[in-house]
């Protein structure tokens, strides 16, 4: 792992959070690889990828684009008023980076607000990045919530 590679991967994760915080959802979606996946396992950190266990969200690009286009179309009842989010990240920890693949661990707290209401979540991101068309792309973004299995109010954006 060269220092420059590590820095590039850390910057990628920070830039990703910034897009979400600025509600630039189409631009965020463009960071996903063609076969990319956004996954919020119901079992949180304890869930293995091979487990037959559900998820709060488990979406490929098709489903993610449904989510994003619905948000942007301005017709969703539950987005009157619209939600905003803030991700506060710990420095991304790059566990692997060989120029073609990278794995990154990033603890976060997350606030999603809508009108007078606000929810607060915490956990960590596990990114698996790949190179596609000469750039880093998200092969898997796994979001481990500390209280994944608890009863939640609506989570409308992207922890």
């Amino acid at each position: 792992m060269s220092a420059a590679d590590v820095q590039a991967v850390q910057d990628f994760v920070l830039a990703e959070a910034s897009l979400l915080n600025h509600a630039l959802y189409r631009e965020w979606l463009a960071l996903f690889a063609h076969e990319g996946r956004y996954w919020v396992p119901l079992g949180g950190i304890d869930q293995n990828e091979s487990d037959t266990h559900n998820a709060l969200a488990d979406e490929d690009r098709l489903l993610l684009s449904l989510r994003v286009e619905r948000l942007l179309a301005g017709r969703a009842h539950s987005q009157q008023p619209a939600s905003r989010s803030a991700h506060v990240l710990q420095a991304p920890q790059v566990d692997l980076c060989d120029g073609q693949r990278a794995e990154v661990y990033t603890p976060f707290t997350y606030v999603e607000s809508r009108g007078e209401q606000q929810i607060w979540l915490a956990g960590h991101w596990c990114h698996r990045l790949c190179r596609e068309d000469g750039a880093w792309r998200i092969a898997l973004k796994r979001v481990n919530l500390v209280n994944a299995g608890a009863a939640h109010l609506a989570i409308q954006l992207f922890p």
């Binding site: 559900n54 969200a57 286009e69 619905r70 009842h77 299995g149 109010l153």
Partner: protein, 447 residues
């Protein structure tokens, strides 16, 4: 359409509860905290409420805990073919015996506070410093009698139902033919066995439980409420190359884009006591891909005719009022738990049909995730609207909620009956059962 004809104009239309009229209900049902407290006792106390599933406690000594009407309940398998339902409090000072959602007690139950212990059937077993109780009144008092059993428990094909009050109908009278919805789910397994699998998606929402239960039977709202999700899904799917295989998620979401006629013609059955079956003729679940080998396995187990019945019946929702809503395909169940007058817990459970292909569990998990998860774009619009109604009903200008659609005088005498699915009879039927229970004090109130 099989709308029932008006039987008689002479039937008396006297309300049994002042807040429930023949074709409308008062907003206090959704907003009044005192009424909620009374409802917990009179209505939920008398009801047979879903508490758990036998597959969660396969071995003797396995238990689950659940909160019902604010009361802690412990379900425990004390014999291979028997499940006990106790109030989850030590007979001594009231500590919950077990605080975790599920586990195994071993050969006896033991309170973590002072080590009072109990046999698996709840009888008092031992307590430390027993000499200190010699000559005291403990043995003769309820505190000395072991764990308190719930007044009613009934296990129907591994679905465990309980009744919190000694008052109320017996189980079979309470549910009647509405239980066929459970039969339909169970017989999707060629060995007749379901297992809870894949985890439970759990939601809280800031609304009264009735908004949620009404909506399960509301076949009119998808066109307007879910337009934002279904129209985008339809557009996106049209942009895919023709002939692309349809992913399971699309197969499940696209039917939400159907129009009013589809949702009205799926048909509904009204059962006594508030129960119902929506989607008697067809539903948004009817067009899922057929699995020939699986069908053959079911035919070998249940015969061709019964298999046809089971597989062709993919109801939108069967409501076993007031605690669960079932789908046969996908094998999904919602559990509705009132927490406060303006707060409700909704869980989405998935089932594995033992001996059936894995894809059935995958369909259940996928559907629950797409439609009933806290992150579901379909649920987001529903929950927003339920919470909006909770606020809207604070308005004092006009206190009634309309349930007039397709109302015919005298219909309440005709249950069970088949009708069109947009008929708000499905909701009126729920409130008639509610009003019956609410207008009658419990024996404990009269004592």
């Amino acid at each position: 359409m099989h709308r029932a004809e008006s039987m008689s104009a002479e039937l008396p239309n006297l309300p049994v509860h002042p807040l429930v009229q023949d074709d409308r209900v008062h907003r206090d049902l959704y907003t009044d905290a005192d009424l909620f407290a009374q409802e917990q006792q009179r209505f939920f106390g008398r009801a047979w409420v879903f508490a758990g599933h036998g597959s969660q406690m396969p071995e003797v000594g396995d238990f689950i805990t659940v909160s019902l009407s604010g009361q802690p309940i412990l379900l425990l398998r004390d014999a291979p073919d028997r499940i006990q339902a106790f109030f989850n409090r030590c007979a001594h000072k009231g500590s919950q015996l077990y605080a975790q959602a599920q586990g195994h007690v071993g050969k006896m139950l033991r309170c973590p506070y002072h080590a009072w212990s109990y046999r698996l059937d709840g009888q008092a077993l031992a307590r430390p410093l027993k000499d200190g109780y010699v000559g005291t009144g403990l043995d003769a008092s309820p505190n000395g009698q072991g764990l308190t059993r719930l007044p009613g428990v009934r296990v129907y094909r591994e679905f465990v139902f309980v009744r919190l009050s000694p008052d109320g109908l017996d189980f079979d009278t309470y549910f009647g033919d509405a239980l066929r919805a459970i039969d339909n789910m169970v017989e999707r397994s060629p060995v007749g066995r379901l297992e809870v699998a894949g985890g439970v998606l759990r939601n809280t929402m800031a609304c009264n439980w009735k908004m949620y239960l009404e909506n399960i039977n509301d076949s009119v709202h998808p066109v307007s409420a879910h337009e934002s999700a279904s129209s985008v899904a339809r557009q996106m799917w049209q942009q895919q190359p023709s002939g692309a295989p349809m992913p399971m998620a699309m197969e499940q979401i696209l039917p939400f884009a159907n129009g009013y006629d589809f949702f009205d013609q799926m048909g509904a059955r009204i059962h006594p006591q508030g129960h119902s079956l929506l989607g008697v003729n067809f539903s948004i679940h009817s067009a899922y891909a057929v699995l020939p080998e699986y069908q053959a396995a079911l035919e070998a187990a249940w015969g061709v005719e019964r298999t046809q019945e089971v597989l062709q019946r993919s109801p939108q929702n069967a409501v076993l009022y007031p605690s669960i809503a079932l789908k046969g395909s996908p094998l999904s169940m919602r559990v509705i738990r009132p927490l406060a007058v303006d707060r409700t817990l909704v869980e989405a459970w998935s089932f594995r049909a033992v001996g059936a292909p894995d894809v059935l569990l995958e369909r259940a998990m996928t559907y629950n995730r797409l439609v009933f998860s806290p992150m579901s774009v379909v649920a987001h619009d529903d929950v927003h609207l339920f919470e909006s109604i909770q606020q809207g009903l604070q308005a004092q200008g006009q206190p009634w909620v309309s349930l007039h659609r397709n109302h015919v005088a005298g219909e309440s005498a005709q249950s069970p009956a088949d009708t069109n699915s947009a008929n708000e009879w499905l909701m009126r039927n729920q409130y008639r059962a509610w009003a019956q229970a609410m207008s009658q004090p419990l024996a404990s109130e009269l004592a």
